[in-house]
Structure formats: C-alpha cells, structure tokens
Point group: C2
Amino acid sequence: MLDICLLGCGGSMPTPNRSLTALLVAFQGRKILIDCGEGTQVSLKMVGWGFKSIDAICFTHYHADHVVGLPGLLLTIANSDRTEPLKLIGPVGLRQVVAGLTVIAPNLPYELELIEVGENERFTECMGGMTIHTLPVEHTIPCMAYGIEVKRERKFDPLKAKENNVPVQLWSKLQKGNVITHEGRQFTPGLVLGEERKGLKLFYSTDTRPTTQLGEFIKDADLFICEGMYGDDNDLNKALENKHMLFTEAARLAKNAKAKELWLTHYSPSLVEPENYLENAKMVFDNTHLGRDRTIKSLNFYD
Amino acid sequence: MLDICLLGCGGSMPTPNRSLTALLVAFQGRKILIDCGEGTQVSLKMVGWGFKSIDAICFTHYHADHVVGLPGLLLTIANSDRTEPLKLIGPVGLRQVVAGLTVIAPNLPYELELIEVGENERFTECMGGMTIHTLPVEHTIPCMAYGIEVKRERKFDPLKAKENNVPVQLWSKLQKGNVITHEGRQFTPGLVLGEERKGLKLFYSTDTRPTTQLGEFIKDADLFICEGMYGDDNDLNKALENKHMLFTEAARLAKNAKAKELWLTHYSPSLVEPENYLENAKMVFDNTHLGRDRTIKSLNFYD
C-alpha cells in the first residue's frame, strides 16, 4: 500500500487559504517528500505522519514556492532526532540552492546527500521499496516531473515448482529472489514464482507545459497528480507564456496515458474557485478530482 | 497614531495553531516589519495592510524562526510593484544570511540596502517619521531588541510668539522647524512652540534573557512586546540554558521600566495553553496581555 498526501494545492505564493503544493509519499514506514514551499512543514505537522522517517526531499525546481521551506524543515527533522543521512534530489542548481538556504541551518545532526540531476538526464533510484524516476519537463527554469513506483512481488507457485522439479528445500530461498546452484544445476526464482503482477505507479508534475515525453512518462498511472494553474481555457496564452497548464491540458495528458485517476493542484492564487472549472477537465477525463490541502489516498495492489 | 500588529505569537518553529512571532508597525502609511519567519507573509496577507509600503525589514537575529520567510516575502513585495529600495536591518551576519537566502530570489525589481549592526553597537535611524533604535541583548547568538519611537510635534503657541516679539510673517516657517535670520536677529522654532509633548514608545524584544540594559532601553514604554517562552516559573533552568524568558521575568522588566502595557509572545511550542500562566505575570505587572496571532492595537498621542 502506497500512502499519498497532497500537502497543499496552491501555486506561486502561500495564501491564507491554501498551502503550497507538495507531496508526501509513504511506503512501509519510509517517506519521500516532493517539493517544500513556505509552510510545507506546517502541513506535514497537521497530517501527523512524522518527520524522522522522511528519507528524501525531492525538488521539481527552485522557484521559491517549491523550496523556501527547506531550511525550516531540515531543522524540524533535526529536532525529531534523525541522525541517518537525508537525500536531497533535484535538477541542476541543487548544490547552490542548498548551500544558500542552509546558511541558517549550518549544524544539522545528519548528513545531507545531494543528488543533482543534469538538465537532460533522467534519474532512477530505489529507496525503501519505492523506485523514484525523474523526467525533464518544460518550464521557465530546469524542472523535473517525478514518478514513484512500487513493484508487487510475484506469488509463490508450488505447482510450478513441482513441474520444474525444484527440490522442496530450495523453495523458500528461491521465493526470496536468490539464485541457487544445487547438485550441479542452477535454480532461478522464476522456477517457483507465478506471473508478473501489476505494481503501483504514481506521478507528480507541476510547473510545466504538457509535453509528449511527459505523456509517455505517466503511462498507466494509478494516480497522476498534475498542475492545473489555470481553470479557464481562455487563459491558454498565460499558460503558454508562464509555462504552465490548463485544467483541460492536464486532463488530456491523463486520458492519453490511460491513467486511472487525476488530481489537479498548484492553482494560481487568482483561481479562487477551481470547482467552477472542474467540469471542463471532466469532459476530457472523467476521473479528474480537485486536489485540496491534505487530500489523502492509499493506493492498493488489490484495486 | 502608530498602528501595531503582532503577526504571530509562536517561537521555535511554525505550528498549525500559531504563526511565528513578527511585528508589523505602520505610521502615516509607511511600514516596518520586525522578523520574518516561515509563514510571516501569510499572516501579513491576512491582515491586509499591504506589501508595497514596507520600507524596512528588521531582524532580531538569524535563528530560522525569525528569518526563513525572507526570500518569499521579498518576492511577494516584488509582486506588489515596489521599485523603491528596501532596507534590511539586523545584527552581524546580515550580508551572509541575505546572500544565502536570496539564492532563490536573485532578480528583485528593487534594491536591498543592508544595514549590519555591530555586535556591541546601537543603531538609530529615522524612517518615515518613526525612529528605530536597537539594543544588543543576551541570546545564544547575536541578537537585538528594537524600539520604535514617534515624536509628537510641539504645539504652536501664539502668546509665546508675541511675548518673544516674533514678527507674524515668520510664525508659519518657525512652526515648521526652520531657523530664520531676520533683520539681523536669529529666530528659532522654540520661540513660537509650546512645551515638549510626550511621543509614543514601542519596544519589541524576543530571544533574550532579561538584562539591565534592556530594562533601561524600554523605560516608559507605551507598549512593550516581549518574549515569554515559558509560562511556568519552574522552567527557569530551561530559560537560563536556552537564553529565553519566563512570563514573570518579562513582567518584572515591564514593571521596573514603568511600561504602560505588556504583550507576551514567542511561546514555546510546548506551551499549549499560555493562559494557564497569565496570572503569574499579572501578579507582577497587572497590565500584561497574552499576544495572539494578529493582535492589533493603535497607539495614540491622546491616550
């Protein structure tokens, strides 16, 4: 089960009614945070999932609404008695931004491990059972979309094991993924495991135009969390100029990628009532929802 | 009239129920902000006094709860179309802190004018009719208390002008503060003005132990806004160790300085119900009030 909390739904600047867009993802007790604007730590506190088990803070880009909250959060994590290293992942510029912002958090009780992803690079790493992927997207400064995938283990199949003449004493080790040489024969896990099973795919993309690559990246998403800076299709010129998206553009991406569900977020402060434009998006992709501060969902293998 | 808004009453870290301690002061349309923690700009937005007319942002010190909000606020002020220079005032380290934090706000449409006050120095400057004073206080890092004073102009006194044989055609210019030489005689404003009148004195001090110098600094305050990190007198050791104050210590400062009114603020996150300890402070200084997020008061010459 992959637990997801959209910590905020605002874009550009924090406002009294909306926290800034950021995403908390939890799997088997470990957590990843994507983006950290001013006030993100307050939203994290309201959710109550804890600070100490956040193993990585990922940044889409370094506009202030996605990063101002970093030094305060690092200090609050320090206050939670974390001593294990913490990963910071982001596009080019990460070292400079972190060096600048941590001028007021110079003595943390844990190490920061910085992973700076090159402008045209794609990064992949498995952390605590979750695989993080990134994709460069199209904004006014270097920006990345994130995917988080969880594999579902293949089931042990005793009939298959018997058919393949696997000695019973090897079953358990093979089930755990080991390759074993026994009496001159090599046994692989595939000899005792059933078919590949569908895992879970979550994608998060803010501050970009819709691109062909993004459409491919989010293929078969269980949940796609996407910016919807503007609700009104008449704001297309603004979206083009500021490198953001309309609700309907996000919906089209979700539809074409055969996503199961779409959450819109990162609303412009001028978009006071996003619900007025939800129908536009639903006409394109029916399972569209308006993200709200601290919207929570658990993605389940069995859904 | 000096308008005062305590933007928050929390200390250490932002929490869902308290904004971080910061003070907005307005006089004749111009504004000064003291401290700018994570979320201060949200509190400013809730108050609705505007961003463009903030002429100075003053820092007591550079612990994160007093400064993380700076880059976001600078961008929001930029968004308000300000082009006039903005003063940043603070103890030693200001240049380094501002250089670090503005790594994500590199292109502001106005200049930043940095005033770094030496560790044992006292700074005074008149801005928009308000005189800002600072005093070094006793915290774990260099820290300053702030005073903001507004002078009340002396009244024009026609009887005195006549007694002093001031020609009528000079009255208006002398009333405006000019010194005039007329027919070989020098005329000073004092010849036509009544007695000195009491102005307004506001003081703001967080993150310090009570010191003799602080007691002298806040003499005759109309309003003293002071940290009360701990309500319980049994927390004295914590206060000593962390260089903070008890409610009763703040009250004693106010009493000895013959302050008119005391607001407590900068409560520890562990101090969930400060009202439980208000009586302790009132036993020492009766006109003590618990500061709350966005407590507003206008100090008036006529009070």
